[in-house]
Amino acid sequence: MDYAIETISLTKVFSDWWGRAKAYAVDDLNLQIRYNEVYGLLGPNGSGKTTTIKMLLGLLHPTKGHALLLGGDGTDPKINRRIGFLPEESYLYRFLNARETLDFYGRLFGLAPNVRKMRIEALLEMVGLRAVASRPVGMYSKGMARRIGLAQALINDPDLLILDEPTTGLDPIGTRQIKDLIIKLAERGKTILLCSHLLADVEDVCDRIAILYGGRIQAEGQVRELLQQSGRRQIVTSDVSDEAVNKIRGILESENAECEITSPMEKLETFFINTVVEAQQQARPTSGAVSTTQIGEFLMAEKSQAGILDKLVSAPVSEDKPAESPATQRIQPSEVPAPEPDRNLLGELTKSTPPAATEQVGPAKPAPSEVAEPQDRKVRQGVLDALTGKTPPATTERPHEGPKDEEAAHG
């Protein structure tokens, strides 16, 4: 079976000047990441996550073992062409502005000028940096640098995306945005290796995870399998009367089962985002938290510039990569419980931004079970497709942008 990423007893020993082994950063690591999988590499600081990635990409040489990317060597330009990489920090040229940065990386991929231009503009739009695109990257805040770093990793429409701590430095809204992007990319048939120690990020988006410690895999498997507590059940209801609750308690007690009844807590993330969006709608000035307002703009922009994400990623696997279809054993996102409420959240966010409908913020808040997915998808479909040359269904919704993008896509 082919794997998107495969390592065979990959080992990295850092030795001192005399050649004596000092530390096993990665120790006999065997990773097998399937095509079209979102794979999370978890571990505390110094557990070997980044070292593994560096060996995959040929930035470090393995002491022992092999690393295969898309069936080949990570230093082969043919393989690099299909890879997007976001390092642990956005290491970018401080003297270039955002547009020049993307142009430089686009040239390294040998993208044709018209394609390059189209992708740069779409990416700047997507990461919400269009307004500051002519400012040197060195002046960016950490969150902004992270965004341009992400845009850089997507410039070539990669099949395999390697993200090292993609959400560091981003505020909750930016984090939410990146997680959402990962899910969207996975739906489009991309393979993603996500490296993080922020457990919430990984839990929300990954199909499979591995926990690394001391350079070795300590646990590996599907997120649901690893986290599901066998022998326990959870019931979530709408607001029912105390009477009904007591009845249920009675039934459960007759079964001799322990039970605990509380009101479900809202996730802090959801609460935070809703609060910020509400504040934005009231045009309350923020003191210094520049990135927050910009993310707000980004969200609004996404609403009006419908479907940028769709532009950036190639359309379904079946059309683009028939060869990969047999190998693709993607776990259905619907099987994994975590992503569902998140997609709803994005739906809420996009809905709740002006001029859409202010009143929707209220009802949206306590309704994590309602799936807003179709609308969300419609919003983003167009841009993803346009970027890969497919006619975007959403372009008609934004006549002022449509012709330019289409022209570029066909050129």
Binding site: K54, L57, G58, L59, L60, H61, G74, P77, K78, N80, R81, I83, F85, P87, E89, Y91, L92, Y93, F95, L96, E100, F104, Y105, R107, L108, F109, G110, P136, G149, Q152
Partner: protein, 457 residues
């Protein structure tokens, strides 16, 4: 190629926007015009021009050399230390393409800057006389001695090998060798004897004469003048410090074979001070059609001493072989070759050293290169055993480096000497084609195999 060019453009942007290049550019833009006003030399217009060309080009060359070293080292080490290399090296670009892109960027930057600053120097040099109320005579002198590219021909060293061998054997047989040269090894004694014999051939007693023959004298314009540049040395100091000489310049074969004179023989009687450079101006039509020219000197009886023409610089024929402009362009190319070498050196140093160490390494090589002629010469002065040790160790290393001082354009442009295309070609081949190329190949190998994510401390 598109990728290499993208890296090159990025390197130029880095040099300009990180203000490294900017500082040097501003410095030169300020200093060059100031030099044009302040460099006075010996006060004459010619002195002014010579001083300005000398200082201007030397300053340009020095500052651009430093700039090249800094930019070429910085562009690699900062990428590695600030880790932009993570995002660049993982793109579909080979490591060698990355390095070649950096080199191309530095070279393009250098070509632009050398052109700019050499252009300024040239402009000042051409327009400077316009600001002075120089006499016709001065202008003519400057035209002959500065705005020119004169080729110099020195007489071939006479073949004295047989005589030296004879002398050596005779001295050895008679046992005088040990007496005259007690501590020297045989090869050094031979060298001494050779020098002695050669000097004998360049000395003439009272009433006697010397004739030198030159082939292939080809002035740019046959209607102009050629110059015999000479310096007298004497056995006994003449009372008034002057040597009287009768010179005859022309195709002497006509005299020897009694042919009809096709070209004139130029006679000149003159008195010149000893140990001072003098020039005789002779119309170029004295040169035979096949480029042959003979120069005869008669030690007239008015002198009462043997006259010696020192081996190093006793006699030389000078003639305008090219224009000042094209000579100046070749001088600029010499600077550019040096910068290309330094760029390759910087890339090599940066491929395995950290920024400060790499800079230091390059500066040491650079300054060794600028004094290599002096260093090599000083070895000759050492005693025999020490000389051998040095010449096979440090000497060998120094000889591997380019000799910047030997190919310094100001050494040619100030006295209006020709920088021949053949010499330029030799320098190009040696400094760029071999020395810089070897450094570049080494840099490519080191850079391709090193672990980019490992920081050199």
């Amino acid at each position: 190629m598109g990728r290499i060019w993208a890296v090159a453009v990025n390197t130029i942007r880095q040099a300009l926007r990180m203000k490294i290049a900017l500082i040097f550019i501003v410095l030169l833009l300020v200093l060059l015009p100031v030099l044009g006003l302040t460099a006075t030399g010996d006060g004459t217009l010619k002195g002014r021009l010579q001083t300005f060309v000398s200082y201007g080009l030397s300053l340009t060359s020095l500052l651009l050399s430093l700039l090249t070293i800094i930019v070429s080292v910085y562009t690699i080490t900062s990428d590695i230390e600030q880790r932009q290399i993570y995002t660049v090296a993982t793109k579909p670009i080979r490591r060698y393409q990355l390095l070649l892109g950096k080199l191309l960027g530095v070279v393009v930057l250098n070509v632009a800057l050398v052109t700019l600053f050499a252009g300024i120097v040239y402009g000042v040099v051409v327009f400077l006389p316009g600001f002075y109320d120089a006499s016709e005579e001065t202008l003519r002198q400057i035209d002959n001695e500065f705005y020119t590219a004169r080729a110099g021909l020195v007489p071939a060293a006479p073949d004295v090998e047989e005589e030296v061998t004879d002398l050596y054997n005779r001295l050895e047989r008679t046992g005088q060798l040990r007496e005259a040269y007690p501590a020297l090894p045989p090869d050094r004694i031979l060298r001494e004897l050779t020098l002695r014999k050669q000097l004998e051939k360049r000395a003439t007693g009272v009433g006697d004469g010397l004739v030198w023959e030159f082939q292939n004298v080809r002035p740019l314009d046959p209607n102009q003048s050629i110059f015999i540049r000479f310096k007298y040395d004497v056995a006994v100091e003449p009372p008034n410090g002057l040597i009287y000489g009768r010179w005859q310049i022309g195709d002497m074969r006509q005299v020897r074979y009694g042919m009809d004179f096709k070209t004139p023989i130029w006679p000149e009687d003159r008195a010149d001070p000893v140990r001072t450079f003098r020039e005789i101006e002779v119309p170029a039509r004295v040169i035979a059609d096949d480029g042959y020219l003979a120069v005869g000197f008669l030690n007239v009886p008015a002198n009462s001493t043997t006259v010696i023409f020192p081996i190093e610089d006793g006699l030389e024929i000078l003639y305008k072989a090219d224009t000042f402009t094209s000579n100046f362009i070749r001088g600029t190319l010499l600077i550019l070759f040096r910068l290309i070498f330094l760029a390759c050196l910087g890339l090599l140093a940066a491929s395995f050293l950290s920024f400060p160490v790499a800079i230091l390494f390059c500066l040491v090589i650079f300054f060794t290169g600028t004094v290599s002629g002096f260093v090599l010469e000083s070895f000759e002065q050492l005693s025999a055993s020490a000389w051998q040790v040095y010449s096979y160790t440090i000497g060998a290393l120094v000889r591997l480096l380019p000799q910047f001082d030997k190919y310094n354009p100001t050494a040619f442009l100030v006295p209006g000497r020709l920088i021949a295309w053949s010499m330029l070609g030799r320098v190009l081949l040696l400094m760029v084609g071999i020395q810089a190329f070897v450094l570049l190949v080494l840099a490519l190998i080191v850079f391709s195999f090193r672990e980019l994510a490992r920081i050199v401390i």
